[in-house]
């Protein structure tokens, strides 16, 4: 992981980017940062909606007057009775949250939940005009319900197996192909490169019908094989990214190894691969995210086997079943995204540099 950071340092310290306008640099800096922060807040607001909704009860969602946060009308237990808490304006202009003990139209009696020993607090006015006080009441239980209802451990296992095996195939085969294209004068090398890139442009549905028919014929539908085996044949994005990276590794290293008597495969394995760690991590992460996200093919190939489906398909099924309970749906969405998000936040440098690399020359 450190190799790429060192390799790319010069690029990062290069004086690039637009300089701020005008002389008031510090002021414009804070203004820019504030504006960008606000934009980010709006951009990520749906995540806030998900988190908040996932902790609500059904009443909190359906009751249109309830607050944004998962809050319930607050109560206080006094002498064995549950009392509702209201926000009470006091004569001195302050507000206190008091538990309603004796509701009366003109003179109600309250108990201060913070100090019940102080006894009755009297308040003049109609208690019906008081606003109920809300207290935070997050329903953590939604998560365990979503976990059980969608059988999260099973979905996780399926996703990890599909992603893991696919990653091995995708990374291994793409390294070989990228090495071949970057380091050898292959017959028709240029044609191969063009066709490789052209496969990105093909609509994936064009190949789907015959592929599906073949997988039905050989009995692969209803297994993980159609989701794993095709990745052992390299794909354009990975090859392109790895090839770019190969080109940054000095050829002298290969030549030295060749002079020492190493064959091409040995050169790749013991001289080049150790230098490629960041790119390999990046490509592995790309495949991990691809597999975590992949929906269409798992759906058609595993439609008869819910016990083998990965998380994206499972989450969608969960949505069709519990559509009417937004709090469960949002808990499920949270469960589905938390692992990718945490992995991303931990590995974001390598990940984003990988994308940088794939963008070179386009």
């Amino acid at each position: 992981m450190t190799a790429v950071l060192e390799r790319e340092k010069p690029a990062q310290t290069r004086p690039t980017g637009r300089a701020p306008q005008g002389g008031k640099k510090r002021f414009s800096g804070w203004l820019m940062t504030g504006f960008t922060g606000l934009a980010l807040f709006v951009f990520l607001l749906p995540l806030g909606y998900m988190a908040v909704t996932s902790l609500k009860s059904e009443q909190m969602i359906t009751n249109l007057g309830s607050p944004i946060l998962p809050k319930s009308p607050a109560t206080f237990e006094y002498e064995g009775e549950l009392l509702d808490i209201y926000t009470v304006p006091m004569p001195d202009g302050s507000e206190r949250e008091l538990a309603l003990y004796q509701p009366r139209r003109e003179l109600s009696q309250f108990i201060d939940p913070a100090d019940p020993a102080a006894g009755i607090v009297e308040w003049e006015g109609n208690w019906r005009q008081l606003a109920p006080a809300y207290g935070l009441d997050p329903q953590w239980d939604n998560y365990s319900r979503a976990w059980d209802l969608m059988d999260f451990p099973l979905l996780l296992r399926n996703t990890l197996v599909i992603a893991g095996l696919g990653t091995i195939g995708a990374v291994g085969s793409s390294i070989l192909v990228a090495y071949g294209l970057a380091r050898f004068r292959i017959p028709f090398g240029r044609t191969i490169m063009v066709v490789l890139i052209a496969t990105i442009i093909l609509p994936k549905f064009t190949m789907l019908v015959p592929t599906y028919a073949i997988f039905v014929r050989i009995g692969w539908v209803g297994t993980w094989l159609p989701l794993i085996v095709p990745h052992f044949f390299a794909n354009a994005f990975n090859v392109f990214l790895l090839r770019q990276y190969f080109l940054t590794i000095p050829k002298e290293l290969d030549e030295a190894a060749t002079i020492d008597g190493a064959g091409p495969f040995r050169t790749l394995w013991s001289v080049i691969l150790p230098q490629m760690k960041p790119a390999i991590v990046a490509v592995s992460l790309f495949h991990f995210y691809f597999a975590w996200n992949d929906f269409f093919e798992p759906m058609i190939y595993l439609s008869t086997r819910p016990d083998l489906q990965p998380i994206s398909v499972g989450l969608r099924t969960f949505n069709t079943l519990f559509d009417a309970q937004p709090q469960l749906i949002q808990s499920g969405a949270m469960l589905a995204l938390i692992i990718p998000v945490v992995v991303f936040l931990l590995a974001q440098r390598v990940f984003l540099q990988g994308i940088d690399l794939s963008g070179v020359q386009k």
Binding site: T16, R18, A19, Q21, R183, R185, I197, A198, F233, L345
Partner: protein, 321 residues
């Protein structure tokens, strides 16, 4: 990088080899050895691309299906004739075009604007902003659709609650024939991370001396963007346009998850890919599905071809450093 210029986007130098090595027979032997390394892709290309492509075309002339026991028959152009008279094809193509017309410009302009914002030097914590703006792109699409389905819900969603604060009666986004398209575009905004990152890389490759020179000449912010930044990033605009276009052709997941693939409201989310799925994998009319797929392929090649052709008029490759 040593990209040759002028011949369109796909110009890649093949492995640089020293002239001395090129001439020797040893080099040719090495080239053949290299072919073995490329073999997985070559085999894969035939297995997963070339053969299925041809088979798909052949299927389009048959009544092949996976459910009935009748033998598959060659029905010549019946599927293709049906394609041109099927009102659902016309409708789904129109839906896809409408959405594309709205989504394509945004798919390029939004990440470009974000990138432009994030390369401003005076901005603090740029790396953190970059990572956080990217972050939604790694959120599983299904989860993202469910989240947006909630926040943009007509009754209980936050978007309409916020609109009502400023006195606007928000539409019922995903059940309205008109507002469903902007709604889908909003969901798509969460997927612009990749585009944004390579825009940032490209904008950072502009030598700051160019900006300094422009500033001395008294250029405005817009003039600097138009005449310094823009020409350099045209290859990235082109690339992102191509990727977004392919995304439109394959646009399936969001309408499928959002409305259970029903195409609601009133067929306005019956995208072409969704109709293909219906024919092929719900009705199992695979001969017709193959026809739909091949028609899409022809259109996709024609439109991307047009885009590549147009590139020579507006994409500048000479700046690539």
């Amino acid at each position: 990088m040593t990209t040759e210029t002028g011949k369109g986007a796909i110009e890649y130098p093949i492995a640089p080899t020293s002239p001395r090595a090129m001439r020797s027979g040893l080099a040719r032997a090495r080239g053949r050895a290299g072919l073995w390394f490329v073999m997985p892709w070559i085999v894969g290309f035939f297995l997963w691309y070339a053969i299925p492509m041809v088979a798909s075309l052949w299927f389009s002339f048959t009544d092949f299906d996976l459910v009935s026991n009748d033998p598959t028959e060659f029905i010549w152009l019946d599927n293709w004739r049906r394609l041109f008279t099927d009102p659902a094809v016309r409708q789904s193509a129109w839906v896809t075009i409408k959405f594309g017309a709205l989504a394509l410009p945004i798919a390029v302009l939004f990440p470009m604007a974000l990138a432009y914002l994030l390369v401003t030097k005076s901005l603090k914590a740029r790396e953190t902003f970059r990572a956080l703006f990217f972050m939604p792109s790694i959120i599983p699409f299904v989860a993202a659709v469910l989240i947006f389905g909630g926040i943009m819900n007509g009754q209980i969603g936050w978007v309409n609650k916020m609109l009502s604060v400023v006195g606007i009666d928000g539409p019922s986004w995903f059940t309205d024939e008109f507002w469903v398209y902007p709604g889908l575009v909003f969901i798509g905004l969460w997927g612009v991370g990749n585009a944004m990152i390579i825009f940032i890389a490209s904008m950072n490759s502009v030598p700051s001396s160019l900006y300094d020179a422009a500033k001395i000449d008294g250029a405005s912010e817009w003039q600097m963007f138009r005449h310094v930044t823009f020409p350099v990033i045209t290859p990235i605009i082109f690339y992102n346009l191509v990727i977004a276009l392919i995304g439109i052709f394959n646009y399936f997941l969001v309408p499928f998850v959002l409305n259970n693939g029903s195409g609601d409201p009133n067929g306005s989310t019956l995208f072409y890919a969704l109709y293909f799925f219906r024919q092929g994998f719900q009705f199992f009319d695979m001969g017709y599905a193959a026809t739909l797929a091949w028609a899409l392929f022809i259109v996709a090649v024609a439109i991307t071809g047009l885009l590549f052709w147009s590139a020579k008029y507006w994409v500048h490759y000479e700046f690539e450093g």
